[in-house]
């Protein structure tokens, strides 16, 4: 202990002497010092993901990507406002895979920690639980996961895909390349139910045929009835769209393979909740040859993407993989920092207004925040390979987000634009 202190004193003394002697070395020395700790202030941000419970497996990666973005921004001098360097200080909370906990911790982050913004959530259920808190306190949440749409809050920014940036292009691609007979399988909660409603309308409009659908309670592992139904409905192969979430996927793919419902036997299986992380958990041998639609794959061959993956591996270990949610989470921290610099303030109201139109060169490409608080995203269709990575089969380019779905009769013709000064800017008739 004593030796450390005397060392510090020694360094300080040395710094002082050098400052007196040569001015040049002072400049270089103090410059280095600022990058390490020479900030003019701090800004607190909340990180609210499930670090325990059933969702921890997925949400850990997302939280880690956010912390990595924060470290990177801090290493470059933090958020610069009016020439002042603010260090981003993350305040971490655990949502514990329990939706009311997300709401409770949100209140704590806003009221006690006085954070400038919260990055958090994964399941739609957790977002739906948090939404009233942010609207009531007129505060500000960034949500990084692809979701079912049909929502457009003034207080939430969505950096994940809406259905028209993931599910709809995937269904179009399947109709064009893989067949017209669709079987929909999902977990029994809001995202799969809503996504399947949208897909059913889309199939009706585009000439596809729904041959069956089934829902499994979250965490259930008995899929024998579903397999029997698929065999009845699609005896000779066809398209299966899978929106199962979490553990059920493992049971689903293990038992499907045993029953011979595999790509080799003419079944095209498209999943919306399986990214690189989940492939590693389920085992690539069960998933090889199935498809997924995302906005980012680790295999995306661009310099930005490679750098992101390399940095992530360097920070968290060589065995780790990056995926779409991690990329969206990483990007949203940068979008927030850019907006804060644009607004010349970290005040949540000002940053929210400044965010629309802010761009960032994300791993997937240049993304821009749209007036409906969603992000323009790259649409990719991939096929799972032996090594657990995706081969990109089709790159459909960037697509603008649509919050209110245009296939569903109830929301057809509605739009959302928070740059409009009207009371119903969140949902109004075009």
């Amino acid at each position: 202990m004593a030796s450390v202190r005397s060392n510090k004193l020694f360094v300080r003394a040395l710094g002082g002497t050098t400052a007196l002697i040569t001015s040049l070395s002072v400049v270089s020395c103090s410059g280095e010092k600022k990058a390490e700790g020479g900030f003019d202030g701090e800004v607190k941000v909340g990180i609210l993901h499930s670090r325990s419970g059933t969702m921890a497996i997925s949400e850990n990666t997302v939280a880690e990507a956010e912390l990595m973005a924060i470290d990177e921004i801090n290493a470059k001098g933090g958020v610069v406002i009016d020439g002042k360097k603010l260090k981003i200080v993350p305040v971490e909370e655990d949502g514990a895979s329990d939706w009311p906990t997300f709401a409770e911790k949100s209140k704590k982050l806003i009221d006690q920690d006085k954070v400038a913004v919260v990055f958090g959530g994964w399941t739609s259920a957790s977002r739906k639980a948090m939404l009233p808190v942010y609207e009531a306190k007129d505060h500000f949440l960034f949500y990084p996961i692809q979701y079912e749409g049909q929502e457009c809050s003034k207080n939430i920014f969505y950096s994940g895909a809406t259905p028209n940036q993931q599910a709809e292009p995937a269904v179009d691609w399947l109709l064009k390349n893989k067949g017209k007979d669709f079987f929909l399988v999902g977990s029994d909660y809001v995202y799969p139910r809503t996504a399947n409603t949208i897909m059913k309308e889309q199939l009706k409009a585009k000439g596809g045929k729904l041959v069956g659908e089934d829902y499994l309670p979250l965490g259930n592992t008995e899929v024998a009835p579903i397999i029997a139904k698929i065999k009845q409905a699609l005896p000779k192969g066809g398209v299966i769209v899978n929106t199962l979430n979490g553990d059920s996927n493992v049971a689903f793919f293990k038992q499907m393979k045993a029953a011979g419902i595999t790509p080799a036997n003419g079944y095209s299986i498209m999943s919306f909740s399986i990214a690189e992380e989940e492939i590693a958990a389920i085992g690539p041998e069960y998933l090889e040859g199935t498809f997924a639609a995302w906005n980012y794959f680790q295999s995306l061959d661009t310099p930005a993407s490679k750098k992101f993956t390399a940095d992530f591996k360097a920070k968290y270990g060589d065995k780790r993989v990056t995926n779409d949610p991690a990329e969206a989470a990483y990007m949203m921290v940068y979008l927030w920092a850019a907006a804060a610099e644009k607004a010349k303030s970290v005040d949540d109201n000002k940053v929210r207004e400044a965010l629309v139109g802010v761009s960032f060169n994300a791993p997937e490409g240049k993304v821009t925040v749209q007036p409906n608080h969603h992000v323009e995203k790259l649409v990719l269709i991939g096929e799972v390979q032996k090594d657990g990575m995706f081969k990109i089969l089709e790159n459909q380019g960037f697509k603008k987000p649509v919050a209110w779905n245009q296939y569903v009769p109830e929301t057809k013709g509605f739009t959302c634009d928070w740059t409009q000064k009207r009371p119903d800017a969140g949902k109004y008739k075009m």
């Binding site: 009835p225 493992v250 293990k254 045993a258």
Partner: protein, 385 residues
């Protein structure tokens, strides 16, 4: 005919998982009347044992045994879960006999502890825990024995355990700074148990396609049932267990060591949960939450079957299996394609797995209204006990 066979096989497949999962509970709950909420977690321990065995045999000198690792896991899982159950019985349940509500709460707490244990156990953690327990148990042997006859002996005991825990935590914390020792063994992530090659495919018998893993589970269930039945009916200890179940005080008078019998029953029930844990790794994912997915179904089966009757458990599980398959797969529509439109719509509505589960539960509730004691209610003098 084809459809009939299909239904029979799939019903049997679903039912056999339920039988295997509920068998241990039928022994513990049925024979001892202990509501063991940690039963699912004992299954989870069995599943994790499978994972460990798989990884040990993957490489190294015993590589040749890898294809049959699942067979090796079965006795080991029985042992691991059985010993965990024994520990649970000796530390918690023994003190709570005849108090079902307290047992329920205590075992539920144990289930949470076990879940968190597999999430956070690392070498440092395990060593710390071991040290705490060892100190707590053995330190008083070295203290002067008359200290333990004093009035303040409970306080001394408390302080002893407090210090032991503190030292254990201290050890874990100081070892935790070493990266290798701090690495969690399993972590909160789900772990990957891959079935050996010979259990992966499926075979066609007639027109029915049967996955080998399902056949394996059905076989394992039959073996487990036969052995449990033999154990309870024919072996000396089995007969003692039944004697204690029927009349505890009389058995005691006749010289049956009832406490040993209790511990043994619990060991067998817990060990069976471990075997079920091995089986379910073939079907789904293995994670700390595995137990929670099965515990409700297990209780449902045992209650429906009638407490204390193995035959009831088997019939209830198979019944639930066939029923949830028939409802969930919508096979009724195929048998009777010309049914009235209203009925057709009703059946289609319930023909998803989650709605079928709702309906099965509802039917069970209705059934229990008419036969509150299940399919095979205990008769005669046993009712009074």
């Amino acid at each position: 005919m084809n459809l009939f066979l299909d239904t029979l096989f799939n019903g049997l497949a679903i039912g056999s998982v339920l039988v295997l999962a509920a068998l241990g509970l039928a022994v513990v709950f049925g024979l001892m009347g202990v509501i063991n909420m940690a039963h699912g977690e004992l299954m989870m321990l069995g599943a994790y044992t499978t994972f460990v065995v798989q990884n040990l045999l993957k490489t190294g000198p015993l590589e040749g045994l890898f294809p049959i690792y699942i067979l090796i896991s079965i006795p080991l899982a029985f042992l691991v879960s059985g010993l965990a159950g024994l520990l649970l019985e000796a530390t918690v349940i023994r003190r709570l006999y005849g108090r079902p509500l307290e047992t329920l709460l205590a075992t539920w707490g144990v289930s949470l502890i076990l879940q968190q244990f597999v999430r956070s156990v690392s070498t440092a953690f395990a060593l710390g825990l071991l040290l705490s327990v060892a100190l707590g148990l053995f330190v008083h042997r070295f203290l002067p024995s008359h200290w333990w006859q004093q009035r303040w002996a409970p306080l001394l005991n408390f302080v002893n355990w407090l210090l032991a825990s503190a030292i254990g935590i201290g050890l874990a914390a100081s070892l935790g700074s070493v990266r290798v020792l701090d690495q969690a063994w399993f972590s909160a992530r789900n772990i990957d148990v891959t079935a050996p090659q010979w259990l992966r495919g499926s075979i066609d018998i007639g027109s029915v396609n049967m996955p080998v893993a399902r056949l394996f589970i059905i076989g394992l269930t039959i073996i487990a049932l036969v052995s449990v039945n033999w154990f309870l009916q024919k072996s000396v200890w089995g007969i003692r267990i039944r004697a204690v179940t029927q009349n505890r005080s009389m058995s005691n008078c006749l010289g049956i060591p009832t406490e040993t019998v209790d511990a043994l029953t619990f060991l067998v029930g817990s060990g069976l949960a471990g075997v079920a844990g091995v089986a379910v790794t073939l079907l789904g994912s293995v994670g700390p939450n595995l137990g929670g997915n099965y515990i409700v179904d297990c209780f449902m089966v045992v209650v429906l079957g009638g407490v204390g009757k193995l035959l009831g458990t088997v019939l209830a599980a198979l019944g639930i299996g066939v029923l949830s398959y028939v409802l969930g797969s919508g096979s009724l529509l195929l048998v009777w394609p010309t049914m009235p439109a209203a009925l057709n719509e009703l059946i289609t509505f319930f023909a998803t797995t989650s709605m079928a589960k709702v309906l099965v539960f509802a039917l069970i509730v209705v059934f229990l209204q008419f036969r509150p004691a299940g399919l095979f209610p205990p008769r005669g003098r046993m009712v009074e006990v």
